[in-house]
Structures are given as structure tokens and as C-alpha cells.
Amino acid sequence: MTSLPRDPGPKKLGLVIDLDTCVGCHACALSCKEWNAGGVAAPLPDWDPYGAEPDGVWFNRVHAFEAGDGADGRTVHFPRSCLHCDEPACVTVCPTGASYKRQEDGIVLVDEDLCIGCKLCSWACPYGAREYDHDAGVMKKCTLCIDRIYNTNLPEAERVPACVAACPTSARHFGDLGDPESPVARLVAERGGYDLMPEMDYRPVNKYLPPRPKHDHAASGPGSAVSPVTEPEPEGESRFLRWLDATLSR
């Protein structure tokens, strides 16, 4: 049913992605690909994987952006996947009922047995979260690892999306964003988590946490953890004293 659930439940499962701690290692994207190549949306095809023009379906992709200029500039690693929007036009445009939003937890899914591969949903998504599988002739997208988070065959600690489990810096958090008391909702409130392209009015469930403000090293004066590389090379005694100082203060 591609009408949105008439009375959406209170539960809104989703991700909170911390742009401050993400180091852009792509572990989430790879882990997603690995799990989903055998999960409910399987197979996740690759075409010409070792050739000149490798191509394939991925649910999660990691960009890197530069924001600002000069000393105030930042490099920000930016993972992007389906945001499981509250007002997902990708669902309402679907002519077949293949795309739907679950009433019980807000997850947006594609029923591959109903999809005719018209691709309209991918046009309707502002975030580029849907990728077409031209082998199967159907649309594919992130399932929020529906086959992990409710999977009672997995130990409880592993019942999180594969991307969350894989992240080495814990930049990805999974939980119920519909519950203001949940750890993820509190994290969003504390850190000023925000929506991507709020002007589109899709009301994404997933939130992004902004990079923390930079430390002002110049203001922190001597004893700062990082010495400027332009400092002249210390000589003789002073060099020894410095070594001593550094060793003793370990």
C-alpha cells in the first residue's frame, strides 16, 4: 500500500550519524554491502567488478565534503543512506504498492515481488537512496537491516544494522527516534542533530550530528598538545631538556 500509514505508530527506528567522529573509513558501506548481499534484498549485484568500469548496487555511500575556508575550514566525512523519512514521496509515487512505510516502526521498504521497476521512486527521493538492480528489474534500498534488528538467531548485542556494528569510531547510532527518552533522541537533543534538506519537507527520521566546534590551539598557549611545525629545531642542551621533559611527562 503506497498510501502512508494512516495512524503511524510512535516508534520511528532510524540512525544518528555523528559527523564529528566519522573518519570516512567506508567500513559501514562495505559491511552494508556484505550483509545485504545475502540479506532480504539479496543479491546486491555488481557489474564488471574487476574491469575498467565497476558498477553495482550499494545502500550506503560515504562522501567527503569541505566546508568553510582557510583555518576555519573543515573536511567532513559524510555517509549517506536512506533516511526512512516520515513523509516519503518515494512511497506515495509508487504505482504498484511495492514501496511502503511500515506502521509499526516507520521503516521504508520495497516489496521486490510487486515492483515493476518503473524507477519513479528513485526520482522522488531527494537523497539518492534508491538504486536500481537491472538484473532483477526492481528497485533496491536500505532495509535498516530488518533481518538483523529483529533476528532472534543473533545475540542481542548484534541486533543492530550492519553499518552500526561495523563502525570503528562509533559514529553511527541506532534506536527509536520517536521516543524522546531514547539514547539516540537524547543524543540528537544534546548535540543539535539536524535533518538533511529540511526544505524538501520529507521529514527524515535519520539525523546527523554536526562536527563539534574546533579547538582554538592558538588560544590554548604553551603546553598545547600539538606544536607548530614551523618551530625552529631546538639545539644542544635545550633539545635534551625537551626530551627529558617529554619523557617525564608521559
Binding site: A29, T96, A124, E131, E199
Partner: protein
């Protein structure tokens, strides 16, 4: 947006077919339609084959065409589904209209109302096609008030060109048909001109800053794309056409779609010679070429906001 030929052919051919069907229905209602069975065969034949080939071509765009019947189910929420339902419903009165006209040589009485019903449903179908595009918020060049009028006015205008040509070819010269051409040309030209002015002077509100939320830090630019080659999303949504090519194609669009048909229609008006029929047919062919150019640009010039994640600075 990637200009897929199947969709371009579908929207232009079926648009012309529905436009012709609307005009035939309206003329029947106004009792201005000659009851000649040959004329019925030619005009409804052309209208319904254009619609049918268009619909079949659009199915080539699907990954699983064998499941197409599923697309009738979501008419409550999806304009694409509504388009499918209305397109199919149109065949019923259009078929009856054809039966009356071609079978019994009669375009009056009950058949007249079948023609009118076909015209109304055809209009609703073209409206739904326009709405599919006009409701896609991520695409600024589509989600605006000029898009549905463009689809409707061009369907009527290209339909009128073919109507005029068919009437002249079958020896039914009237003053009304060239007049209909000119009356449908004017709004189509005005709307297309306003549309191009609109997309040339406005931008999507989304920017790389809103797409990433990093605006508070400063100007945002892509450092590293998340891929080494193109992906489905960059190919489908990231199609780009150079501004100077677009400007040239717009000029071709104006010439083939409006200028040539205008001159030829005026030249052919009021005469019934085979020369006039040839001119009207050439006008219809030129208009059809022009509308394909117009539709190709409608896709190629449209930018999707997802490109902001892939290096575009505006959409």
C-alpha cells in the same frame, strides 16, 4: 535527468493522440465532424495508434513489464497509477466512438456522447502525466506551475496539427481546423516561453549547504565522491547538458514546433488543393519533431537535488 527515449516517445506520441482524441470529441459535440467512415478510420486510427504505441513504448522503460497490471492498484496515492487507470478507461468510450463512426458512419446521437466521454478521459490522462512530473519536489524544473499546462497545451496543439492535416488529406477542408491550430498554438507557445524563462531565472532552494547541513561552517564543496565510476543515481539523475547546446536546441524547438507549423498552416488555410494537404501534413510532421526536441530538453535540462551530493553547486 536522463532523457530516456522510451519515455520521450511515450509522452509525445500519446500526448498527440490524446490531443487529437479531445479535439475529435469536441468537434463531434459541436456537430462539426464529417460522418465519413474513411475519415473516422484515419483520424481515430492515428489517434489510437499513437496512444497505444506510446503506452507500449513506456512499458519498455519498465524492469518487470509482465507485472504491469500491478500499476492499476495505487490510484489513491500515485499519479503514475492514475495515469494508467485513466489511459485504460479512455479506450472504452473511444472504442465505442470508433464503432459508431467507422462502423455505422454516425457521429451523432449516443456516439457523440461517447466521443465527449473519450475527450474528457483523454484530457484527464494528459493531466495525470503532467502531474507525475509536477509533483516531484526534488526536481525544480518539473515541480512548478508551468509543467501541467505545458503537457496539456502541447497535447492539444500537436493533436490540432494532425487533425488539420487529416481533414485536408481526406478532402474536408474547413475554416475551423486551421483556426483550431492557431488557437492552440498561442497558449502552447506562451506557456513554453514562460516555462523556459522560469527555469532560466530560478533555482531549487536546496544547496550543498542544506544538503549536508554544513552551511554553518561555511561554503560546502565536494572533496571526494563516494564512488570511482558513475552509479545508477549519477547516470539517471545527474545527466547534464551544456548551456549552449540547450540554447541551440531550444531554438530548434521554437522553429520546428511553432514557426514552421504556423507558416505552413496559414499557407494551407482556405484552400483544398493537394498542395494545401501536403503543407498541413508537413506542418504536423514538423510539430511532431519539435515536440520531441521539447520533451528531450524537458528531461535534459532538469536537475535533481541529489546532484548536490555529487559536486553540483546548484540544482
Amino acid at each position: 535527468m536522463h532523457p530516456a527515449y522510451s519515455v520521450i516517445f511515450f509522452t509525445t506520441a500519446s500526448g498527440m493522440g490524446y490531443g487529437l482524441l479531445i479535439l475529435l470529441g469536441v468537434l463531434a459535440q459541436a456537430e462539426m465532424l464529417p460522418a465519413s467512415r474513411l475519415l473516422g478510420l484515419a483520424s481515430l486510427g492515428i489517434a489510437l495508434s499513437a496512444v497505444t504505441f506510446g503506452l507500449l513504448s513506456s512499458m519498455r522503460h519498465l524492469g518487470r513489464p509482465e507485472r504491469v497490471l500491478r500499476a492499476y492498484t495505487q490510484w489513491r496515492s500515485s499519479w503514475l497509477s492514475r495515469e494508467g487507470v485513466l489511459a485504460t478507461m479512455t479506450y472504452v468510450p473511444a472504442g465505442l466512438f470508433a464503432a459508431g463512426w467507422i462502423g455505422f458512419g454516425d457521429v451523432g446521437g449516443i456516439w457523440r456522447f461517447c466521443g465527449l466521454a473519450a475527450a474528457v478521459l483523454a484530457g484527464c490522462t494528459v493531466y495525470s502525466t503532467g502531474m507525475i512530473y509536477a509533483t516531484l519536489r526534488p526536481i525544480h524544473a518539473w515541480c512548478n506551475r508551468w509543467v501541467v499546462p505545458t503537457y496539456l497545451s502541447l497535447a492539444l496543439f500537436t493533436g490540432a496539427l494532425w487533425l488539420n492535416a487529416i481533414l485536408l488529406l481526406f478532402g474536408h477542408a474547413t475554416a475551423a481546423a486551421p483556426l483550431v491550430v492557431l488557437l492552440t498554438l498561442l497558449p502552447a507557445l506562451y506557456i513554453k516561453w514562460r516555462y523556459w524563462r522560469f527555469i532560466g531565472s530560478t533555482r531549487a532552494t536546496s544547496t550543498p549547504e542544506t544538503a549536508t547541513g554544513l552551511g554553518p561552517i561555511g561554503k560546502v564543496r565536494l572533496l571526494d565522491p563516494p564512488r570511482t565510476q558513475t552509479t545508477y543515481v549519477t547516470r539517471e539523475m545527474g545527466y547534464r547538458i551544456a548551456r549552449k547546446h540547450a540554447a541551440k536546441l531550444r531554438r530548434y524547438g521554437y522553429v520546428f514546433l511553432f514557426a514552421i507549423p504556423f507558416v505552413l498552416t496559414v499557407a494551407a488555410a482556405g484552400t483544398a488543393s493537394w498542395m494545401a494537404a501536403g503543407a498541413a501534413a508537413a506542418a504536423a510532421l514538423s510539430g511532431s519533431v519539435g515536440v520531441v526536441v521539447e520533451r528531450w530538453l524537458f528531461f535534459a535540462e532538469a536537475k535533481h537535488v541529489v546532484t548536490l551530493y555529487h559536486g553540483a553547486q546548484a540544482a
